[in-house]
Amino acid sequence: VSVIGLSRIVRLERRHLFRSPRGRAVLASLSLLTLASVFVGGAVARTHRSAGDRDEGATWARIRESAGEAAVALRTSTSAIGSRPGAQAGAASQITSFDLAAWNDSFVARGDSPSTPLIAGDLALLPDSAAIRIYEPPTAVPSLAERSPAALILGTIDLAWLLALLLPLAAIALGFDAVARDRERGTLAMLLAPAGSGRALFFARVVASFSLLWIGVVPAAMIAWALSTHGLRVRDALSVCALLTGLIAFIASVVIAVSALADRSATSLATLIAGWLILFVALPLASSGLVRTAYPLPDPRARLEGELAAQDVFSRPSSAVLDREAERDPKLDPSLGQDGTSIQNRYYMLLSRERYRRAKGARHEEEQVLEQRAELAEILLWSSPPTIVSFALAELAGTGPRERGEFLEDGDAYRAAVERFVRDRVVANERAFDQSSADRWPRLDRPDRRSSLTALGAGLAFLILGIVVAVVAGAWMDRKDLAPTREDA
């Protein structure tokens, strides 16, 4: 078949598909659902961002307002922890950096990226912020999934959901009988006369189906994405385009290939629905089940014991611990303090290090399991098309399986920075937290771990797979019998 002939067939098939009521219905539904998914995703992402920002903003406001404030409100915490029962309120003195960092929760926001509207459903599983105190590892605030039945039982629509569940169904509805119906009716032979070969017809129908799906999804997704986010990077947009193009090509090829190789439309539909259930529903469920089974979460009793031991560091202070810590950091020796506040700060600063170690140790086993799970999940995410797509988008948005752990790691690094900052002031026997200290208070600066390479690579892989499927199915179709089926006879 000449190139001109092939392009003519492609044009004809495309026109036919775009003008058919089914084609129009699929196109309209896909465009509407894509717009809805990205806009809803964008709105959901904004609520998460504002939640994190509110907590972090309130922390900064508190730090700024604390400059020069009396310490009674915070210092009572010290007495509550250190000298029960019937402790007296702390003496009215000025707040110090140590008071702010130890007796008060500071919140850091997890932050988001311009790509989060595409995968906003992931945000329900992630904390929007974490509480930091210098004597314990960061504590994530409860995620939306832990507070809202709607987010978990019903789910949250976003582009990844659409691509995983609805796009394949739309492709099946569009093309399950693309070739099988002609075979069933006995009109395939007539169609093959002008087309020249089965491959040309097959290719033309794949291109027609691909074009309709592409026009239904990609422009709507890109427009809605651009409107619902800010700071969109060109390379991210190109990666998403590549991912969508590759995925659509793959799905269109597979659907038309099954239709071309089936004798009847019903067989084609049953095969495709079964395949969709296995590839797009069963495999992702099995993967998450496998991760759970391979690395079960540890018994929480060890953590509870560890947390109680950590609490004991302040409630039953040990002179051995104090001596050991003072030996490690002699500048913090309480005897070098100049007044009650600075002596108390040095005392608790030394204890806080031991308390941090115990609290960290209490969480160690659980953190290790979660890390192992994230590693295995990242491998298993390559086992099915929907998980590949959601992983690629998650990598782009920074909401992947490692994000929770990485956020808490970054939070811990920030905690260490705050501890260094506070230590310098404790060593200098700070009497009052002033404006210059407020200005120099460390800020969380998370490294940018987002990557558009996964989306690009996944898109290319899907495209290559789609082409391979098309070539093999086209060749196979040529060998298949064109005789009318039993029904035609």
Binding site: A25, S29, L33, S37, V40, A43, V44, R46, S50, R54, D55, A58, A73, S77, A80, R84, P85, G86, A89, D105, F107, G121, D128, A131, V141, P142, S143, L144, A145, E146, R147, S148, P149, A150, A151, I153, L154, G155, T156, I157, W161, A164, L166, L169, I172, A173, I273, V281, L285, S287, R292, L297, P300, R301, L304, L308, S315, L370, S390, R404
Partner: protein, 472 residues
Amino acid sequence: LNALVAKELRLAWRARRVWLASLAMGVLSLAAAASGASQFLDRREAYERLASYGETSFQKQKAAHPHQIAHNGYVVARPPAPLGFLDGGVETAYGTYVRLDAHKTRSLQGSRTAELARGPGAGRFDLGLLLAVFAPAVLILLGYDLLAGEKARGTLDMMRVAGVEARSLIVSKLIGLCARAVIAVDAPIAVAVAIACAVAGELPLVRLGLWIGVHAVALVAWALIVLLVSAIARTPRGALMIGLAIWGLLALAVPPISGGLAAALRPLPPMGEEMVQAEKWAASAHAQNEVLRAEAIRDVQKRHPEWNGAGDPPEVLDAVMLRLADAEVARKVGRVLDAMEREEDRQARLATEASMISPSGLASLASSAIAGSDVSHMRAAWRAYEAYRVTLMAWFNDWWAKNGSGGFDQYQTEKSFAAFQDAPRLEQPAFGIGFALARAGLPLILLVATSLLVATALMLSARRAIGKGVRA
């Protein structure tokens, strides 16, 4: 009508498609039952371990000052939902234990959000999910051609000539579809439910009956939708296409759109500042001032009118002050929690209303509520633990107020912990059927309303179809 019903029942029994679907559903429902039951058993085992740990660690601790004991805390664990093996609901996302520690209000720990995944059910696969989301697709495959097939074959005209009324036709087709559903969906699910109950070792009959009832109502709604589609479509192929599209929309698109809209339009307030506030209040429980002291004296005088405020008080004032301060902290925290829960309820209500047209979304919400695995049950359990914390705290403060420190000091002592053995133990809150029904009420009402709406539309379209005959 009898003849039509008999014909439909005969066809249902003889259809190969029905038995193939039954086989497929059998495999799926067994997998779902196994998955749900094994998760439930894990949860129950973890609960029993933690409950026993909490009790043992409380009783075996070293004796100390009564208020110190209260600060050491008491670990309580949340038992799994009564029908958690059938519908996991939000079990995985919600915490499972908490150390109740003096004045501090802590949220439940041990939530397993890391186990959640994308997609319907957030990664869980149990009978609740299978019935709500995937069984409707089977119903479509079973019944898409019930009316459209008559149209395509031209037998609808014959029926009209024979004087068959639309109502009789619809009733017979509905009974026929229900018979197919019984063979292909209900029977395998019933076997799977029985196996899940046996594996989990639980048989709460009333709750189980209600849970089955919720899904039955949802399946009837779906059956009516399938018949409506079959009545509207001109050909069986068209009916299948429209049916699958509607299933995709109602089961896979509308619920997450509702969830997303609810999250976007009624966002939950961030928790950070509330956590800070609660910590400050908790810390302030130990603060003492003259106003509090005066209040404590008045409180003691209420119980001991003979004491005129001079000399040694009959109760330890420090303890009374702590009790009063702690009660005030609990009230303040309670108000914050009430406000936050109101916001969560508003979001849930919006999500429920938005998923009104989706029997799957409504069935999921009602099913988890009846199973006791929805967020209301989890939240109520946690509030009961919080109330117990206040009771325990008050008990220790009372002990201290009445007996003094009793020789116990802040650090460990040689005295025995036996003096505190009478401290109240947690009684797990029992949530009856009434509580579950109150939570499942709105989704259930909407589900019935949807069914009635679809039934009306079906009757109208069937009358029209029979009246017009077939253009083909």
